[in-house]
Assembly symmetry: D4
Homo-oligomer: 215 residues x 8
Amino acid sequence: GFAKLDHHRTLRSGFGEVVFCQGKSIPHLRDIFVRFYERDTNVLGTRASVEQYEEVKKVLPMVEYDPTSRILSIQKIKKQGVGCVAVCTGGTSDIPVAEEAAQTAEFFGSNVLRIYDVGVAGIHRLLSKMDDIHKANCIIAVAGMEGALGGVVAGLVDKPVIAVPTSIGYGANFGGLSALLTMLNSCAEGLAVVNIDNGFGAGYIATQINRLKNE
Amino acid sequence: GFAKLDHHRTLRSGFGEVVFCQGKSIPHLRDIFVRFYERDTNVLGTRASVEQYEEVKKVLPMVEYDPTSRILSIQKIKKQGVGCVAVCTGGTSDIPVAEEAAQTAEFFGSNVLRIYDVGVAGIHRLLSKMDDIHKANCIIAVAGMEGALGGVVAGLVDKPVIAVPTSIGYGANFGGLSALLTMLNSCAEGLAVVNIDNGFGAGYIATQINRLKNE
Amino acid sequence: GFAKLDHHRTLRSGFGEVVFCQGKSIPHLRDIFVRFYERDTNVLGTRASVEQYEEVKKVLPMVEYDPTSRILSIQKIKKQGVGCVAVCTGGTSDIPVAEEAAQTAEFFGSNVLRIYDVGVAGIHRLLSKMDDIHKANCIIAVAGMEGALGGVVAGLVDKPVIAVPTSIGYGANFGGLSALLTMLNSCAEGLAVVNIDNGFGAGYIATQINRLKNE
Amino acid sequence: GFAKLDHHRTLRSGFGEVVFCQGKSIPHLRDIFVRFYERDTNVLGTRASVEQYEEVKKVLPMVEYDPTSRILSIQKIKKQGVGCVAVCTGGTSDIPVAEEAAQTAEFFGSNVLRIYDVGVAGIHRLLSKMDDIHKANCIIAVAGMEGALGGVVAGLVDKPVIAVPTSIGYGANFGGLSALLTMLNSCAEGLAVVNIDNGFGAGYIATQINRLKNE
Amino acid sequence: GFAKLDHHRTLRSGFGEVVFCQGKSIPHLRDIFVRFYERDTNVLGTRASVEQYEEVKKVLPMVEYDPTSRILSIQKIKKQGVGCVAVCTGGTSDIPVAEEAAQTAEFFGSNVLRIYDVGVAGIHRLLSKMDDIHKANCIIAVAGMEGALGGVVAGLVDKPVIAVPTSIGYGANFGGLSALLTMLNSCAEGLAVVNIDNGFGAGYIATQINRLKNE
Amino acid sequence: GFAKLDHHRTLRSGFGEVVFCQGKSIPHLRDIFVRFYERDTNVLGTRASVEQYEEVKKVLPMVEYDPTSRILSIQKIKKQGVGCVAVCTGGTSDIPVAEEAAQTAEFFGSNVLRIYDVGVAGIHRLLSKMDDIHKANCIIAVAGMEGALGGVVAGLVDKPVIAVPTSIGYGANFGGLSALLTMLNSCAEGLAVVNIDNGFGAGYIATQINRLKNE
Amino acid sequence: GFAKLDHHRTLRSGFGEVVFCQGKSIPHLRDIFVRFYERDTNVLGTRASVEQYEEVKKVLPMVEYDPTSRILSIQKIKKQGVGCVAVCTGGTSDIPVAEEAAQTAEFFGSNVLRIYDVGVAGIHRLLSKMDDIHKANCIIAVAGMEGALGGVVAGLVDKPVIAVPTSIGYGANFGGLSALLTMLNSCAEGLAVVNIDNGFGAGYIATQINRLKNE
Amino acid sequence: GFAKLDHHRTLRSGFGEVVFCQGKSIPHLRDIFVRFYERDTNVLGTRASVEQYEEVKKVLPMVEYDPTSRILSIQKIKKQGVGCVAVCTGGTSDIPVAEEAAQTAEFFGSNVLRIYDVGVAGIHRLLSKMDDIHKANCIIAVAGMEGALGGVVAGLVDKPVIAVPTSIGYGANFGGLSALLTMLNSCAEGLAVVNIDNGFGAGYIATQINRLKNE
Ligand SMILES: Nc1ncnc2c1ncn2[C@@H]1O[C@H](COP(=O)(O)O)[C@@H](O)[C@H]1O
Ligand SMILES: Nc1ncnc2c1ncn2[C@@H]1O[C@H](COP(=O)(O)O)[C@@H](O)[C@H]1O
Ligand SMILES: Nc1ncnc2c1ncn2[C@@H]1O[C@H](COP(=O)(O)O)[C@@H](O)[C@H]1O
Ligand SMILES: Nc1ncnc2c1ncn2[C@@H]1O[C@H](COP(=O)(O)O)[C@@H](O)[C@H]1O
Ligand SMILES: [Mg+2]
Ligand SMILES: [Mg+2]
Ligand SMILES: [Mg+2]
Ligand SMILES: [Mg+2]
Ligand SMILES: [Mg+2]
Ligand SMILES: [Mg+2]
Ligand SMILES: [Mg+2]
Ligand SMILES: [Mg+2]
């Protein structure tokens, strides 16, 4: 087997390794899942297809799949959630990315608060949710098109905001570039950005931040 | 003389031709200003330098110059202002572009309301000004960096919003590209965009819109 | 339900909220349409597929669909058209985007004049239509490839022009970028630009402008 | 005065407003500093020039300036540092951006550990510093050119890493774009990115994170 | 001497080699000019500075310099002009590039007709010049900003059009990219494009074309 | 019918109008072909699919289709070929674009010489064909990937060269951008460029040039 | 036959010509393979599909195909391998490109050492393999996403490193651009880069280098 | 002192560490040079200014500076040159980058053959030098503008070619991007590319390759 299981990672970082399922062949993916299952308590796969799920299920019947987030996971021992991560979206089309973030955060042990469809084109929707958002230790702001949500949220809270640009939109959104640049250039303080559509990355670092409060 | 004075334009569109001063040599610019002065009631030059101003002043002592907007103008007959155009900016660094817009709108006969430094990173500043903004027939939203102001304003009013991205910022703003893309991808309705730093263009079309109400 | 219906929007801006159908799942879309239908007088959906139409029709039999513009709409009370918006295109391939603009403008209560296939490569075609175009309060210029139509029209009229770049073309058009940049850099006055292929946005703001004249 | 002092910000987020000095005129900047000084305990300005420093000093003699970080600040009451933020750089040319980050973090009350010139082209330099780095609650990784430092550090720690791309380099670095894309595409978990050369933004969010641990 | 004088070129192509002066040191440039002068009948240098001119003049007093086109040339035997190349510009700011084209064409033996400041924002200016333009065997269309002139001209004539985008403009012109893309994407037939600001290249190929008619 | 047949074009430019078939619906395309057939002697369509061919054939049985060039044409009266246009390609993958150019040139009355697969990676192949190439009045150089063919050919001939970048390649060819930039930046004289994959445009202007020699 | 077989190449460079199969029609590809088979000892095709393989096999039954590398080859006489080329990858998804490199190197006579899935996000994996890597005369580093592997390896060895960016990733990887820029901007010495996904090019030049040691 | 001298590097790779002088302050640079001088036999600095040279000379009088290559070096023991590296350029403007490559290669112990001004626009110049070029173990091809030299050379030799794009040119060369893309997309085998203007990187890896032959 070519893939080197990263035996040091759990020790090093307190989280197990995660499988990037996209583009992996069925036998290869099945092999990785089995090895992780035997070694670790839990296994998390991202960007999995329904077909990959069905094939992995044949050898590991306890595997679970969420078609919205495309997360494929085994959780032998569910972690007790701590603290709070808020996940906000600009529109309903951003929900798949937001769910990847939310479920990743939950997998690694964060409580998650979902606040969806509160984009800045109708700012009163966001403002009416601020009491909830203030409860979180870290906020994830997921938005496509213009991507302004991240900066507006960061201007309203005193906690770190992780912004996730999505590829939602068309034309001059250039596959998410417009939202990415908006977020990188925000003049609000307290904002950092992950790759376009990278809900997983946002959920992971938000959990690292949330755990600090609760250590 | 190479430059063909656009004799048809005033008839055709109700506005005189405007001089783009940037990069024009002193003799060339002086020549154009003199010819326009002799033909038209008023002359408007944009992106003029102090040095250009001083040289034009030698032959046309009534010429006026504003170093913030870099507008060089002669107004023999001041137009009576009509209606209302609101000009908003995200930060104080956007003011030169905003002034180019505002003074252009005034030159062509609009009343202008200035509402500066109300960027979305501190959204309460904009919200506290909404009563004023609602009085305008057209709103110009000038912003650099993330450029989110245009979309947020458009979401709060029922009048057309002309968004002007500015080149203010650094790094991944790519000379105003970030703000431009933000504005083009806004999911708020009622927003159209002009070129980066093109205050003049915004002031001009805002006046065309404002005049419709008052015809 | 995740999607927050924007209850304030009709009040705020005088237009109901619009549904961006592209990428929405059937149940989700059906749910939104039903709720809007119950709350508002009219419902407008853009970028809908035939399949989405057929599924929404099952629950809302009065829904109408135009395969050219891809607009999915319910109009319980047809608004009486006012004023005039002219919609021009460079070629026949730009007509789908133009129809999205035209039907949006009509939905919100504008009279629309269609002037198609008058691109600048055969300038006499446009010139022969100028008498009609001069009747409009606002002109929408839709063009792909080089996208020069917007600037040429703006140079011929004294009304605001909303330019819509389209993704029509190939090679160095880069998905509409060439037409977008042409329009943003036009040296004609009185031009503002919306996103590539955003006929809806153009029809909306043109109606806001057209209504000013008729208030 | 056009600039609206953000009276709500300290309450809202626990930090005072920060002045972006670049491009601001001397009178304008002096005015802002005086008003902040009168209202707040401390004032922080970023991207200030020596000339700006000398002019502000005339009215506020207690102002301090660091020519490396270009930070201009008044600290009437030095905050007691808590926790630990580690600031790493790839090369010595990245130090100005790193110092902007470090001094920002210190200004807002974080202890800072500086670990400079440990770029991945000589990986042993970084590895020999890991014991120190593991003490931090948050790591800031500053790197230009290829920008690989962020991902390598994130792979070695279990704390959040804030990556700052710098514009250091030439040719196909495209003003920092290469480092920015590297950091956004890292396959290490636990990494989020701020704008090119935005040391301030990194120092700010790192402090928000560091404070969580110490609340 | 490192520079290999291209002894074959005159034979091969009927034109002598041309010197790209920009960035060349004075001794290096002087050396090249002397060698070309001794070998050829005529010498043409492009993009020369005044300083380069003055230094070359010291050793070759018959050298001539035009500060608009920045062409530095020696013409021992003036070629008798044949046929006709028309050079059009959109604005007056495009004249330096147009003159580089015109003077290059003249140097190599074409008659040139200059038709400047006939940009498409005032289309009547171009239309009023069509009788002249129809006399040319080849038309050079020079335009910056939106760059639409090339396509409009090509739609009006049955001769080849060489379009030259210029870097004139600002903001989203991206140093001439907007005009370049416009010209490449023209839907008019009979148009080919040279590099941004490459008046020399246009004048050269236009002469090759013009000579065909007159061979 | 929306499409305005360009009745002036044949008069104006000596060539009939050409149909851009790509993306046109069957009824629309059939309608255009019938009208052109009734009005003109010949009809040329580019970028047609096999399906479009079969449908047009039902109403116009004399229509011809070449699957390589994707040209759909009716030639009631074959023009007698004049002069010579040489069409060269870098590789065999560039042949479809080259055939679009060659057949366009033939349609409008040029003799064509095809010299394929002579790319610069094996320069002896091109050099061995120079005797033939020197016979042409205009050379079309079609190349993808690095696109260096245009510049090398232009350096070897004294006739105008029309360079056509193709989208052949992968990775950093960015859909033909690499070849396009190569051709625009060539330091050989006598080269002008058309859009990526635009064989039609090259064949058209080459014919305009070739006809000059033969008028 | 259009394709000119490059009869000089074997003599000139010591390697036979290689077939780029992608996009070639079956008859065309079969024809080329047969001619090469008759002329050369060995034939190498890259980027072949399964379908192309099956069709070529019908006329040349000894042809071999590897679905991972997509290499289609005939090796009548297997070259005796010399020296050593190491091929490393960042992840398992990069293996297809790596195998194209490895099998190309083997085809032309290099011994190859495969070291896969040693990306910098878990740097200990690479460090544990350094003893093997030091045995190679040339190292090929294949990586997508952030692409940092090349620079880290180059910093650890004293042999030339050929870096291959891959298009693996999503979002701001822009089809491999992120990895490409990372590799070009590496501050490690001893690194040169080939096109995105160009395993073949890397395997070829690595063999040229490896052979130098063994001549 | 922040800069960590890379004590392992000489051992690891057989070459001393190199100083990137650009942007370093005088005291900082002087300090680094003194420390390297004391530790190593030789010191190499790249991209140094005349002013940096003069200041370093004050403390290290034996330091040498070449204003063309901008290399600042101390060579206590001149290495005996081995083998042969050929350095070719397209034009004379590329010589500074070529000299950086050549002098780097000489510093590390390669014999260098300089072949300048042999660009592909006059291919006979290159062909007449092939006998010399064939003597090299590695060829460095330096070219700006279209950058085609690398591919043409690689097609003529059987040794590895390192291509260096330069930023020479204007307009659509985009600071060297055009030449970079040309080189990356070359269809000649045996070519790898370094960063724009990175003569140093090319000279370094060429020496690693050249040494293999001579070990
Ligand atoms: N959706 C995702 N986006 C980015 N990185 C991911 C994602 N899912 C997993 N990864 C990372 O990719 C690596 C696994 O890649 P692989 O070895 O190809 O499965 C691990 O470092 C994961 O943390
Ligand atoms: N170096 C910096 N980079 C980005 N944003 C900054 C920087 N310094 C200050 N800011 C932010 O810019 C805004 C102040 O802008 P201004 O009102 O123009 O002074 C505040 O929101 C600051 O938090
Ligand atoms: N303005 C220009 N733009 C593009 N190429 C030019 C220009 N002037 C001269 N050249 C070409 O550049 C080459 C001369 O370059 P050089 O040897 O550096 O003088 C010749 O091939 C000229 O035809
Ligand atoms: N392959 C092509 N590439 C670019 N332009 C074309 C092509 N084929 C036709 N055209 C031009 O496109 C226009 C026809 O567009 P349409 O009216 O949509 O058929 C005419 O001006 C043609 O000259
Ligand atoms: Mg905040
Ligand atoms: Mg609105
Ligand atoms: Mg107008
Ligand atoms: Mg160092
Ligand atoms: Mg024409
Ligand atoms: Mg030539
Ligand atoms: Mg892995
Ligand atoms: Mg070779």
